[in-house]
């Protein structure tokens, strides 16, 4: 009982991690002070062992992350510079590469912004509204996740290609590239906002309304600030997915160099032409730019001073 009190006391009065001194230990601990000479090293070893065991978790996680992500990126960097700096520079300044990178990054940015707004709207409908077939709609949102990208590409070509049942021919156009990217990135924007929206307390909005706030003011002053980190998280995921997308884009885009050829397709072409260092060089540049954008989004989320949604 006394030890229990001591534990509670430690919790309440001493948030630090240091061991309570002899005077503060409960009666049960006084026995150990007789073997002072052995206590310190034994206790140190025990602490080391305990720390080691608890560090095993993070160590394993870091190892897994390294093997899966960092090692391939390191291999890419090695490959990119394997034939010297001049080859690297030639590969990233080649007109096709520049055009492909510009198209990919611009399309990904636009798609992330558009789908952030669209995803927010869809999440609102899914969380706040009730209608027949809501569960089906909710499941259908995840369809782009489940579809193999090449199937998505064939479907988009059939729907928005030359034989489109809606008489909308986007094949071979940049709008077609954008449409394909909107399709595959929507689930990210919806699913990142939906749980946060579901947990928001409607009472705060009701209080605001009762104090005279208009619907728009409630949206701008109360809802959006709480949702912004989640929206940004979804935008980041959408951007990352759009930058790397290949299968669903490559068919409807027509893959025309300097017009609708995306970076992933150009990199694929280079790798098929035995120009592996050039492919790695362009890949590394793409990874670097994407990393900068994602870090920027992370900074923006922290700036709004709300804990990360994901």
């Amino acid at each position: 009982m006394t030890n229990l009190d001591t534990t509670v006391g430690d919790l309440g009065l001493r948030p630090s991690s240091r061991d309570p001194g002899p005077a503060e230990r409960g009666p049960g601990r006084r026995r150990n002070t007789r073997r002072n000479s052995l206590v310190a090293p034994c206790s140190a070893l025990a602490h080391a062992g305990a720390f080691g065991a608890k560090a095993a978790g993070p160590t394993l996680a870091v190892t897994y992350l390294s093997l899966l992500v960092l090692l391939p990126v390191a291999a890419l960097i090695t490959n990119a510079f394997s034939h010297g700096l001049s080859t690297f520079w030639a590969a990233v300044t080649q007109p096709e590469a520049v055009a492909a990178l510009e198209l990919t990054l611009a399309a990904a940015a636009i798609v992330a912004i558009v789908n952030s707004v669209a995803g927010l709207a869809v999440a609102f409908v899914l969380v706040r509204d009730d209608f027949r077939g809501k569960s089906i709609v909710s499941a259908v949102i995840d369809l782009p996740f489940a579809l193999p990208t090449i199937v998505a590409g064939l479907t988009l070509l059939a729907l928005y290609g030359a034989n489109s049942p809606f008489h909308v021919d986007l094949a071979g156009t940049r709008l077609g590239v954008g449409t394909a990217l909107l399709f595959v990135t929507l689930p990210f924007c919806v699913r990142s906002v939906q749980p946060v929206l579901a947990e928001l307390d409607a009472e705060v909005e009701d209080a605001a309304s009762s104090l005279g706030a208009t619907r728009r003011q409630v949206l701008r002053r109360i809802l959006l600030p709480s949702l912004l980190p989640a929206v940004l998280a979804g935008a980041g995921l959408a951007f990352a997915r759009a930058v790397g997308e290949f299968g669903s884009v490559v068919l409807i885009s027509g893959n025309i160099p300097f017009k609708t050829e995306v970076a992933s397709s150009w990199i694929f072409s280079l790798s098929q032409s035995d120009a592996l260092p050039a492919a790695s060089a362009v890949s590394i540049l793409l990874v670097l730019i994407s990393l900068i954008v994602l870090l920027g989004i992370g900074w923006a989320r922290r700036r709004f001073n709300v804990p990360e949604a994901v």
């Binding site: 229990l4 065991a53 095993a56 290609g161 397709s265 280079l270 050039a278």
Partner: protein, 351 residues
Amino acid sequence: MHTSRIHPVKPGARSGPSRRALGRGLGLTALAAAPLALLALPAAAGAQSGGSVNLVSYSTPKPAYTVLAQDFAKTTKGAGVTVSPSFGPSGTQATSVVDGLPADVVNFSLEPDMAKVVKAGLVSSSWDKTATKGMVTDSIVSFVVRPGNPKHITTWADLVKPGVGVITPNVFSSGGAKWNIMAAYGAEIHQGKTPAQAQQYLSQLLHNAVAQPSSASAALQTFLSGQGDVLLDYEDDALYAKSKGEAVDIITPPQTILIENPIAVIKTAGSSAQAFVSYLLSPAGQKIWAEQGYRPVLSSVASQFHFPKPKTLFTIDSLGGWTSVNVKFFDPQTGIVTHVEQSLGVSTASG
């Protein structure tokens, strides 16, 4: 009682690793071990016995090989032999074999892909010293048009007329595309044009390209989706599509290139592999190839089938051979096609 339900969050204090931390550690170890276990799988696959043949082929002959493998099993040499095929883009397949994909017989779309495997020491450098020069099938580059040929596309000159939409795969990712480009270039040369004029023709052709899909099969899909007026494709691929009921007509251009598809046996393969290749080159095998739309390399079988005869049929050798053509035309940094695309792109980049 020393035990307590309250767990103060103090690292290293109180007790050693709790059961919860152990469980977490075990879980993480399992996570880490999982990918390592996957790595062990290929090793477990092991070497192939004489009773099976690993066929690594380009993507187009998949339906043909289904029939061929069944027929091979009925022969004496083929009884009890399992043919395990793998299909994919020719260049990717060649790279995979070099990187360790188990293979006994390799069949590619064009010679440079075979050269990759020879360079890696997996195939003997005398692979092309056979009666058929190492080739197992032939074909030609054809025009695939809409039923009835509404735009009356019959010659190479028709392809560069304004308003004609051409579909040809991207030369840097597709082997089929290289045959198309060399057919176009060679057609001009064999009509008496100079190399500069032939290069100008390529520029006009690519200007009319409404799509340059990443592979020959993607190009066919794009054409069938309604885009474009004419698709440049292997004759055998077009014949297969037509036999499946797709709405296409096949036009044989007056000048075209002879597509030759190389085949070889890997040095370390068993005797069943050589038996399979011999079967593919035998009259019985070549007859099945011809029924599937491929031009036979055996003249005795070729005379039994009536494939369209173009006025001028030339080979890649008349244009310098693949070794030099591959670099001269298709190097992604310095090739002729690269320069053509770039000069086209500079004018269309703003569009």
